[in-house]
């Protein structure tokens, strides 16, 4: 089976899973809206927590994948690893943006302002900038081998950066305390909410894995087609 055919087979097999995850997501929201008690102080606005938190988890997962796959690429120089890192960055970008959009949507009714420099939101904002830089860099380099090398270097440095930004933001907050804006519930999360959150995390992770697989297969297909076209031109 040629690489193009393998990629196409993956696309065909993955597509139904996209539908499945979306259905599961709908199920989780039905549960969240209808079957999970609203939080006392924040009311309905708090429901967005079930989108916001899993998206953040997935964004960081994606980022971790970009970092480790980038390292693997520099060691093994396999171009498919580069395609995988790029796919993870793109999909991760989507989820990071969701976090940054749902944050203010949650914050506005609860606290009256769109944006606060809440620790986690700030960390996510900088993560967003790093992924943006990664994607911009990829777009700015024409030659494929050089693009892969540069992206890998940035991916590795970006992963190293995350813990430092985390420490910076938390140190900043201990010096300049700010209201803890986006807390899910009381001091501990009551049972029913915890279950909904858990389901939501699982469904989002599944959705991410499916999207990643699909995007990676698309990239492999494009690559295989370009190679075939170049070989036809050569012959």
């Amino acid at each position: 089976m040629t690489p193009a055919e393998r990629a196409q087979r993956t696309l065909r097999r993955t597509a139904p899973w996209i539908a499945v995850s979306l259905l599961l997501m709908a199920a989780v929201y039905v549960r969240a809206l209808a079957f999970t008690p609203p939080e006392a102080a924040q009311g309905l606005a708090q429901k967005i927590f079930y989108v916001h938190v899993p998206s953040a988890w997935v964004a960081f997962l994606a980022f971790g994948i970009v970092g480790s796959v980038s390292l693997a690429y520099l060691v093994r120089k396999d171009p498919r690893l580069d395609l995988l890192a790029a796919a993870a960055a793109e999909v991760g970008m989507v989820f990071t943006t969701v976090v940054l959009v749902t944050g203010p949507i949650w914050g506005k009714p609860v606290w009256g302002t769109w944006w606060t420099w809440d620790a986690r939101l700030t960390l996510t904002l900088f993560l967003w900038f790093v992924v943006l830089a990664y994607l911009v860099l990829r777009g700015a380099v024409q030659e494929p081998e050089r693009r892969a090398r540069y992206a890998a270097v940035l991916g590795i440095l970006g992963s190293l950066l995350v813990p430092f930004i985390y420490v910076s933001v938390y140190l900043f907050r201990t010096v300049h305390p700010m209201p803890v804006v986006l807390r899910a519930g009381g001091p501990t999360l009551p049972g029913s909410m915890r279950v909904t959150l858990f389901f939501s995390l699982a469904v989002f992770t599944l959705f991410f894995a499916v999207l990643l697989r699909y995007r990676f297969a698309l990239a492999r297909l494009a690559e295989a087609r370009a190679r075939a076209a170049a070989e036809r031109a050569d012959a």
């Binding site: 911009v136 890998a152 270097v153 940035l154 140190l171």
Partner: protein
């Protein structure tokens, strides 16, 4: 090791000599510095915001942006006549090339900072002299981190179409930890608080320098070797 020092020194000396002869980047950075400091002063309401509250941030915005003007020089000057090939053809290790470039950039940024600091003390009327020692230490540590990462980023940015724009896009997220720490430490010093109160920030700065200088040394070869 001695080879590395010899080669890095040769490269740094050559870069400093070239910059000294043309002086364009240095002059632009100085003018930029003076302008930023002056504008920041006018950009506040003097009754609402004291110079002291604005000072640490103003200092570090100035250092960072003026510094970025100079970072692209390091690899930009190797593009004419493909001089970089000359470096790569030679037996010089890629690490020596990186160290030499970082050293040259440190001289450049350091020179800009040496002029900016007194200007800043003048415009913002802050007591710099009593805390000069610790302040210079903070500036040195933060500048090292910023220049180490910036030199690596510029080795990539210089090969993209919009190099001057690409560098800030790549570099700015990486400046958050060192610049935040530097601003906090500087504020501490200007307010006359003891250094020990801000130990967390100092540790952050040191940790950043150690990790990122090491990472950049290891990764540099990948940006330069085709």
């Amino acid at each position: 090791m001695r080879d590395l020092v010899r080669v890095a020194w040769a490269i740094a000396a050559k870069d400093v000599l070239l910059e000294f002869r043309s002086r364009t980047a240095f002059a632009s950075a100085l003018v930029f510095t003076a302008l930023v400091l002056a504008i920041l002063n006018f950009a506040r309401d003097p009754t609402a915001v004291s110079a002291h509250s604005l000072a640490p941030g103003a200092l570090w915005i100035t250092f960072t942006f003026a510094g970025m003007l100079g970072l692209n020089r390091a690899f930009g000057l190797e593009r004419e006549n493909r001089a970089l090939d000359g470096l790569l053809l030679s037996p010089a290790s890629r690490t020596a090339v990186y160290v030499g470039k970082v050293a040259a950039n440190l001289v450049f940024v350091g020179a800009v900072e040496a002029v900016a600091l007194p200007l800043f003390a003048l415009f913002f009327n802050v007591p710099v002299v009593p805390v000069l020692g610790p302040l210079v230490l903070v500036i040195a540590l933060a500048t090292l981190g910023f220049v180490a990462v910036g030199t690596l980023m510029s080795s990539m940015a210089v090969n993209t179409r919009l190099a001057e724009l690409m560098l800030p896009v790549l570099l700015l997220p990486f400046l958050v930890p060192p610049v935040t720490a530097a601003v906090q430490l500087t504020a501490h010093l200007f307010a006359g608080r003891p250094f020990s109160a801000a130990f967390g920030w100092l540790r952050l700065l040191l940790g950043y320098d150690v990790i990122f200088v090491a990472a950049c040394i290891l990764l540099f070869e990948s940006t330069i070797e085709e």
